[in-house]
Amino acid sequence: MAGGITKSDIGGLLAKQGILIAFVIFMIGFTIANERFLAPENVMGVVRSSAILGVMALGVTFVVISGNLDLSVGSMMSFSTIVVLDLHDKIGPEFAIPAMFVMTLCLGAFIGFLVGYLKLNSLIVTLGMLSAIHGLTLTYSGGKNMDIANKGETWFAVFGQGSVLGIPVPILIFGLLAALLGMVLGKTPFGRKVYAVGGNGVAATFSGIPRARVVFTCYLLSSLCVATAGLIQASRSMGSQNTVGQGLELEVLAAVILGGASLLGGSGTIFKTIIGVLILGFIQNGLLLVGLQFYAQYVVTWVIIILAVWLDIAAKRGRLLSPIA
């Protein structure tokens, strides 16, 4: 064949890098539609505002690969944000931040215990926690907005508004965390165990892998990411409502799926999740630039999710339409 590229090569390429290709096509399309799209400040802006979603998606990637779901991250993020803002004025940022991390990790540990050790269904557990944590947040704050009293006099703003060498700190945190977690998932024994547990939990157990502990750790990681996201959010706005994270759980999930993680567990990577997050961010921004209302993005996201996942599995099975009779 001319050029030596066969049909199956293209299929394989699509299967492996379908999301990446879709992403590139997207960027080209929007760039043609609006010259501002690729302007550095715009790109930077999109990445920065995607950082919070992105940080949360990193943790959820672990949970999803381990074969579970986490619908509580949005509600948990509200909790972290409110707690750190409240404690900031009470005990100072240097104590407030670790205290908030500990509290959020406790929530993650609780979910991890329920799903990992008690083996309760993660969809329902995290759905329950979505509601329960919201209640907890309201109890904690008394339902009031939380605001830092002296916004000008604290270094707390650095996480959300600062920048190092011209790179906004949220992007930096996102990048570092992604690199770290990417290596944990892709290169370490723990990462391998996550894939095994998600791929076939029974076989993993029969191979001496402590399934419960692996699942538990995934939720702990997820809550760690949520706490980080809450920190960025709190620092970015220096004040917040109790519902700041509401609805983010589904956006996060959409990003992870868009990145190609299978909800059945056992597949997905951090890199692909980042692509998923960026696609969502750039769609939102791109549509806005070409003058569409924000809800147009819902419809486009729908089409893109379906197409991306479809092409992905179509390439794997070697035919476009499913063999379902």
């Binding site: 802006g45 339902g143 907005n145 508004q161 220096m238 917040s240 921004n285």
Partner: protein, 294 residues
């Protein structure tokens, strides 16, 4: 107690105003030996609110106060209460006109006036700056379908051309009374429009969200005017980042609602619309007001 009153609120806990209202209402009931109250929260869900009205009717409370989630959808439920002989008082945000026949009284702020006043605050400031002929304004409105939002927007939209005929409102988008949503909306405005001189937000919570977006993007010199002065708005005014707002207290709001209900039960003659006063507040006169508690 003499009277048993039921209240179903819109969405407690979603922002400070509603939370403070909820607290103040309970405190006001506590302080008054003559009343007991069943205090419910619809969580923003119309279906739940209708169910709650039905529950209150079924529990045979003597009056129902309702903070509607949707000014239109609750009308049939209100009619049901009316038909059951239970007087209904609407609080904070009115229901649509079709339902006025079934309501004894409305208690809350005059939102059209609020909108007009915000327009005046903004126009005065523009005049002071000398840009009243060129200024461009964006508007972030409250939750769509919510009477307060509709009225404030109408008040603003109608009044601004009267006082500053050359100022243009380039775009209006809803911010759902939500700071983060408003911040997102403002980010989009900033990307889209190079020239923005003023921002009118349906409340300070959203106003501050917009302010945050502008600060993050490094855009200065924008005049922010809101409504329902929140503590954050007040502070931003102290810092000189935020120009003005409308002073409205949820404590007054809650007390007024309870008082209206009691007055109705006492058989007093009341006007249909019971407004409590909501004055203008700007950086110039803010020292006359105490800092809001919410």
């Amino acid at each position: 107690a003499e009277y048993r009153i039921g209240i179903t609120q819109n969405n407690v806990g979603v922002d400070s105003y509603q939370t403070t209202y909820d607290k103040s209402f309970k405190e006001a009931v506590e302080a008054n030996d003559a009343v007991e109250a069943v205090v419910l929260d619809a969580g923003g869900d119309v279906a739940r609110q209708i169910a709650q009205i039905e529950d209150l009717i079924q529990q045979q409370v003597q009056a129902i106060i309702i903070w509607p989630t949707n000014g239109e959808a609750v009308i049939p439920a209100v009619r049901k209460a009316h038909n059951a002989g239970i007087p209904v008082i609407v609080t904070n945000s009115n229901i649509a006109e079709a339902g006025f026949d079934f309501v004894k009284s409305f208690s809350g702020p005059d939102n059209i006036t609020q909108g007009s006043r915000s327009a005046e605050i903004m126009c005065d400031k523009f005049k002071e700056m000398g840009i009243e002929t060129t200024a461009q304004v964006v508007q972030i409105s409250g939750q769509p379908g919510y009477t307060t939002a509709i009225e404030r927007q109408k008040g603003f939209d109608d009044r601004l051309p009267e006082v500053c005929p050359d100022v243009t409102i380039v775009e209006t988008q809803p911010g759902d009374w939500n700071r983060e949503k408003s911040q997102k909306v403002m980010e989009a405005f900033l990307v889209k429009y190079d020239k923005i001189d003023g921002v009118y937000a349906g409340d300070d919570n959203m106003g501050v969200g917009a302010l945050n977006a502008a600060k993050a993007a490094g855009r200065e010199g924008i005049i922010f005017v809101g409504a329902t002065n929140f503590a954050v708005g007040y502070e931003a005014m102290e810092k000189g980042e935020y120009w003005g707002s409308i002073y409205q207290s949820p404590v007054d709001d809650a007390k007024a609602a309870l008082k209206t209900a009691i007055d109705v039960l006492d058989g007093k003659e009341l006007p249909f619309l019971n407004y409590f006063d909501t004055p203008k507040i700007t950086q110039d006169n803010m020292s006359d007001f105490t800092k809001p508690v919410f």
